[in-house]
Every structure is written in C-alpha cells, then in structure tokens.
Symmetry: C2
Subunit: 356 residues, 2 copies
C-alpha cells in the first residue's frame, strides 16, 4: 500500500521540514506509487518534430480509445532514480544511458523519440518540479518513469500518427520487501522473449506477458521468476524486471545482450565495478547447469539496484548460494550505492548534479 499523504498521519515532520519535504512517512516507503505534484508532457505529430514539452500538474491524461498504445501496445518506458545527498544536492544516475536506450527502443517500435538532450532535460525539469518528493538521504530515491506512447488514433496495425512523451515520478523504497536474498523460481513453462522480437528494448510488450508467471511464483513464496531462452530452454536470460549474474571463482558471468534481454544500465555499471576490483567479466550464454553450480548469484536493475539471490529452485532442485557480509554481491552493492548516494566521490562521471 502506498504511504498515506494525509498531513495528520505524519507526526515526524517539523514545520521547517514541511517546506523542504512533502508529507510522506519516509521510513515506510515501498516500491508503490505515491503521486507527486507534477509531470512532464511533450507531443509529436507525424511530420513535425517533438513539441518543447511542459511541466503540468500530475493527473490523468486524455486519450483516444483508438490510440496505438491501447490497441497495439505501441509504448516504451524507462526507469531511473534521483537521489538526495547528505550535503543537500539532488543527483541523477546516468540519465544519458536511459535517453539512448529509448532511442533504440523507438527504432524497434517505429516511433519517433525525443532527442537524448530533450530526454535528459525533461527528466531534470520533472525532478526539480517535484523536488520536495525526493526522499531524505538514506530513505530511498525518487523513481522517474519516462513513457513514450502511441497516442494517435489508428485502426489497422501500423505506427500511430501521434506520440506522447510523458514523465511522472514517485518516491520509492526497496523493490523487494525481503531484507535477505531473493528466492528465485526458474520458470520452465513460460518464456519472456525470443530472438527477432522486442526482448532487447524496454517495450511495454515485454511486461504484461510475465505477470502470470510472477503471480504463480509469488503464490508459492518465491520472490521472483527467472526465465530461460525461448530457443533452447537451456540458458538463463532475465528475471521479470532485472538482469542476472553468477559468480564462480574469479569469474562473473552474465547473459549477453543479443536481443532477448534488456541491456540494463545497472548491469553495465556493476560489470564495470566488478572489473575494477579484479574480477573477470564474461558476457556469454549461461546454462541452467552452470547457474546451479555457481557460488553466488545476484540480480541488478534500477528499481532494486543489486540484490543477492539466496536460493534458486529449478524443478525439484533447490540450491542455496552465498550471501551476507563476505559476499561479492554485498561489496558491489555498497560500491554502487555509495556512488549513487554521494557517500563516496564519483570518479566514473555517472552522477549528474541537477541542483546547482
């Protein structure tokens, strides 16, 4: 349930903080929608370029019943986070990467995207407009959700004649409630993506199809689902909303971005950090057999950042992996979150300060 936004339900806030912060119980934040004050909207009409876009009050949008997104799933989304640092700055984590990924996705779904510059500028404007919804340091982040959707009316299957680029935000806590590691189920029935499809871009069409698998797994007390490749059913691909890594010896392996898994920005960043501290990174097909023999397994994604996997269940086998303070996953998680929250200096050029 989303935290309540009633003033009376937030005894923790002082009158000074009320100016700086929205009235949210920051310690109770989950990964659920807490509507903020403003959103960004820009439009593209066939044959024109994207409108400049504007910050408007957050609220329902008006859309044709015949819109491409409602009928044919012509839509992309992105997800990124804004952080408030101890010294009071507001920063974004690698927004340029999200901007570029939207370009690739728009090409696959035959849409015209906003330019990367417009994308990043729009994200900045949206976060600054919702400044007081960025959680206090250490309490979470402001999750930012850019959408590019076909809002033009189209009866036959084709690209819509109008697109809307929209950004809304929500303060969030942890994606998974479990404080310990994830308990994954390997789904050997449903598949997420196939070669020649859209599994490699952040298309809305990759997500509703995994919900059935996710509900089945959660009803059996699993945290999430690991999908296998559609071609052979032998290699691991992706969790419903994040990438996967396995560790054995000095080698960290993760499935390659060859069109059926999302090229995660956290995935890319964690690979770089692991390499920095002496691990060998292999992007290659990883079989279920290898997964079951790994020493550590962990997942990465914008919403969860990095989460250790405690167990994997495949048919009747259940494997337990190393987690905890001595685990590589714990070390990498700390390295990345320290950069993201400004606890250590960012030598990577990943953080964008938007408060100055």
């Amino acid at each position: 349930m989303a935290p309540s936004a009633h003033p009376s339900s937030s005894p923790l806030l002082t009158s000074k903080e009320e100016e700086k912060y929205a009235d949210v119980k920051w310690d109770e934040l989950e990964f659920a929608l807490v509507p903020t004050d403003y959103m960004y909207v820009a439009k593209y009409k066939q044959g024109e370029s994207f409108s400049e876009g504007e910050i408007v009050p957050y609220g329902d949008i008006s859309i044709s019943p015949c819109a491409g997104i409602l009928n044919y799933g012509q839509g992309l989304f992105e997800g990124l986070k804004a952080y408030r640092t101890e010294d009071g700055r507001i920063t974004l984590f690698r927004p340029d990467e999200n901007a570029l990924r939207m370009q690739t996705g728009a090409d696959r779904l035959c849409m015209t995207p906003p330019s990367p510059d417009q994308f990043v500028e729009a994200v900045k404007q949206t976060v600054l407009a919702n400044n007081k919804w960025v959680p206090p340091p250490g309490k979470g982040a402001l999750y930012i959700r850019p959408l590019l959707i076909g809002t033009g009316a189209i009866l036959g299957v084709a690209s819509a004649p109008e697109y809307t680029f929209l950004i809304y935000t929500s303060p969030v806590g942890n994606y998974h409630k479990a404080s310990s590691g994830l308990n994954l189920k390997v789904d050997d029935k449903h598949r997420r993506a196939h070669s020649g499809g859209t599994g490699g871009v952040k298309s809305c069409t990759n997500y509703s199809p995994v919900v059935k698998s996710l509900i089945e797994a959660k009803s059996s007390v699993f945290s999430d689902v690991l999908f296998l490749d559609a071609a052979t059913g032998k290699n691991i691909e992706e969790i419903s909303t994040c990438n996967i890594f396995i560790l054995k010896g000095n080698i960290v392996s993760t499935p390659p971005t060859s069109g059926t898994i999302l090229p995660g920005i956290t995935r890319k960043s964690i690979s770089e950090l692991a390499r920095d501290i002496g691990y060998q990174i292999q992007e290659r097909n990883v079989s279920v057999d290898e997964l079951l023999e790994a020493e550590e397994v962990f997942c990465t994604g914008t919403a969860m950042v990095l989460k250790a996997v405690e167990t994997v269940t495949f048919h009747d086998k259940k494997i337990k992996y190393k987690t905890g303070e001595e685990a590589l996953s714990t070390k990498l998680h700390l390295m990345l979150t320290n950069i993201q929250t400004g606890v250590v200096e960012d030598h990577k050029g990943w953080m964008v300060d938007i408060s100055s």
Copy 2:
C-alpha cells in the same frame, strides 16, 4: 485517409437516407477509423464484479499515466463485424466466439474479463446505438473493437487494480486496397511469437512488435508479412494480422493453434466450409518448403475475411499461386461472405440478428 464526415461532401444522400444512414461516402470506405456516435464502457475494480456498463458518447477517455496498459501493455482486443442485410436486418458474425477468446486472453494476461453474456450484450448495444453507421448492404461492415485494458495505476510490474472494458466501432471497407491477391514477404529476421508467450491470445503485445517488419515490407511494395516460428525458423505461422492456409491437391493445411498463432474465428469458419465441400483439412506444422510448392495460398481474418495470395517471396525466390474465379479461395470467400451478408441462408447458426 478516413472518409470525410462533412454534410456538404456527400451529394449521394437523399433526405430520407439521412435519417437511416450517417453521412458517409459509402463507396469510398477503407479500413480506417471513421468515428461513430457512441461507445460502451464498463469498469472492474479489484474485489468487485464488472459494472453494468453504459453507452456513452464516443470520445477520449481519461486514464492514469501509471495505468497498466500504458506502462506494461496489459491489454487485449477483439475485432468483429456487424452487417446490414438486403432485407434490412443487422447481424453479427459469431460474437460468442470473440467473447470466449477474450476469456482465454484475460486468463493469460491475469485480467478479469466481462462474462461472455455481458460481452455479447455489450456488442449488441454498441451496434444498435450506432445503427446508422452500419453501411448499406454490399458497401462494407461496421467493424467492432472491444478492448479490455488495465486502467488502474500500478508502479511495479503486476496486474492492474482496475480494468476497463470498452467497445468502439467504425464503418469499414476492405482491409487491403489491392483488388487482386496479396504479395507476401516471408520475414526471416523478425519473429512474431514464441512458445510460452502470448502469441495464441489477442494481446496488444503481439502487434506493435510486427510494425517494423510491416513497414519494411510495404516500402518494398509487398502487401503484408508472413512470420516463421521462433523455435526453428522453418515453419510458417501467421501474417501480421491474419491466418494462412495452403492448398495442394485435395488437402487444405494450416498451422496448428498451439500457442504461437491466433485461433482465428474466420480461420475456424473457413476450415469448416472447406470440409463441407469435400476438402481434407490438416492443422499441422507447415514448412516454408511446402508453402513454396503449394497450388494456392490464402489468408483469413475478421478485417479482410478471406484474401487470396498471389505471390510469396522468400529470400530471392518468388512463387506465384493460382487465384481468380476457378480458385478454391474465391469459392470459399463467396461461401462465407454470402452467409455473412445474408445472401444465402445461414444453416450454421453463425449469424446473430440483433435488429429484431
């Protein structure tokens, strides 16, 4: 372009007809949106049952930016047609089949559908409210588009807490402009669906991913695209929006509905009609090699009904098939459209008279 709805641009109509018919240039109808007067809307909220639904003026709907359909593609659609017969009745073609298909799709996408009875009743109400938009006999049909979409706000990937069941309509002419047969391109790069995915239900997520392939083919003067199976790339599956049949000798073959192609209602009806006149029907894997050696090829779907394929191009091979008056496709097309338009008596129980 949609036909104009300006009164001044329709010199064909007499004042008497103006009462019975909307102001449309019926002879110029294409398969494009011509908005009609009314639509049907019903809502479902988690833990409740579907609201009764009501006929409201056709127009934009209001939706949360965080809705499941906009972010995660949680949506299904259906397509069916209403016909006006020579003796003035208005009929529907097998609406119960669409109602049942929406049930199956809703189960796959974890949505609660309206009951089959509510579905059919809603279709009837919507058509009767738009009575004057049903084209005159022989001029086309009123295309009916039911949607079931996740309109509730949901931030993490999950089933939306609210669904909307909506029906809108549009008078339509032919789906493909070509009066002769289709010129299909076999796409050996993109795939449409995979086993364990959603290719067997009418999910919006199956459609935006094929647009790229369709645009590429149309820019090379092909009419449409034929997809191969994702597992082997050897068998034919489906055109972007319709099913496919091949004829050799006395045997009509069509790919099986095993989860990667849509179980078409026209497909099912045409199979039955072909069987009635002595052909053997085989639902089985059909290889590209067999396609290239067939005598006739044809496609079926609600929008196009049945259309002969004149040529298929696979890599650098281009095969020409039998079409025209002597072709089986022409015979089957006539058999089905005669039933649909009331020219011959319906002994199948397929047509539902909603005007009485």
